[in-house]
Amino acid sequence: MNQSDEIWSRLTKAARQARDDREIEMQSGFATRVAARGLTVNQGNGSLFERFAMRMVGVSCLVALFAVVTHFSFQGSTEIEDPTTAFFQMDDAATIILGEAGNG
């Protein structure tokens, strides 16, 4: 045992002799208050099925969000090279014709 260990040993030996004279006294109403709040917290946690259901709602929202984002990004990135295909795919053909005539 080196000197530091000996010092520590002597100190802790002395420290163990000290008595903690504080009473362990519970405030009146503490147990009732804590029990009531504790049970409320416990019930608030819900059953396993409830927690599972909430997780599933979260997962469903994420899937829906992913589907919407993917759908619009796919639409935005699609370019139609063929003018005939473009013509038949457009909602308003008259606008296209007039647009082309205007450009020409």
Binding site: I7, T12, A14, Q17, G38, L39
Partner: protein
């Protein structure tokens, strides 16, 4: 308050799980002394022990459905209490450097005597020695503080520490080793300062 020997813990636990408020109150009353002792052992006197006890019981109730009976309920609650104390120690301000100037006159005398003499500390100085030990321990990491208090002040075995903290014995040994090394360095620094 219920007596340890006569208290029907499994029965009470079953009632608590079914939402019985009277049983929950009895459980709090039964475990309260144990929880307060843990708080007092690991945290300084200025801590509001009632608030911390309430936090520990709230955690206990919120996790009571997860308790599977592999360890006795008091040990399981003890682990919650120890973890909460560690969280509290972590949340406190960073530990200032240990300095002679921060000690009371009596504490400085005890430390000086224990460093320079090889004699035992006088029984009258036990309270000062206790405060001094706590100030020195507060220089350690929170987990190491818990281990060294249990080992050197409460004189618990590795198995007991493992039961009350939930850490395996190897981890407890590593933490004790790390704590002792830090304390050695601290004493060396103090001795150097004492000489200069």
């Amino acid at each position: 308050m219920s007596d340890d020997e006569t208290f029907d813990l499994p029965g009470c636990l079953a009632l608590v799980r079914s939402g019985d408020q009277a049983a929950a109150r009895e459980l709090v009353e039964h475990l309260y002394p144990q929880v307060i002792r843990i708080i007092r052992r690991h945290l300084p006197r200025r801590v509001l022990e009632e608030d911390l006890a309430q936090e520990i019981f709230m955690k206990m109730f919120s996790r009571i459905d997860q308790y599977n009976g592999t360890v006795p309920l008091p040990h399981w609650v003890s682990r919650i209490a120890v973890t909460t104390c560690i969280d509290h120690l972590r949340a406190q301000k960073r530990r200032p450097e240990f300095r002679w100037a921060d000690l009371s006159e009596k504490e400085a005398e005890v430390l000086d005597a224990v460093i320079t003499n090889e004699s035992e500390v006088a029984p009258d100085d036990a309270v000062e020695a206790h405060e001094l030990v706590h100030k020195l321990i507060s220089q350690l990491k929170p987990e190491d503080q818990v281990v060294i208090r249990m080992l050197d002040l409460e004189q618990r075995t590795l198995a007991e520490i493992s039961e009350h903290t939930g850490w395996n014995k190897s981890l407890v040994k590593v933490r004790a080793f790390r704590a002792r090394r830090k304390l050695r360095k601290l004493f060396e620094t103090l001795e150097q300062k004492e000489r200069s």
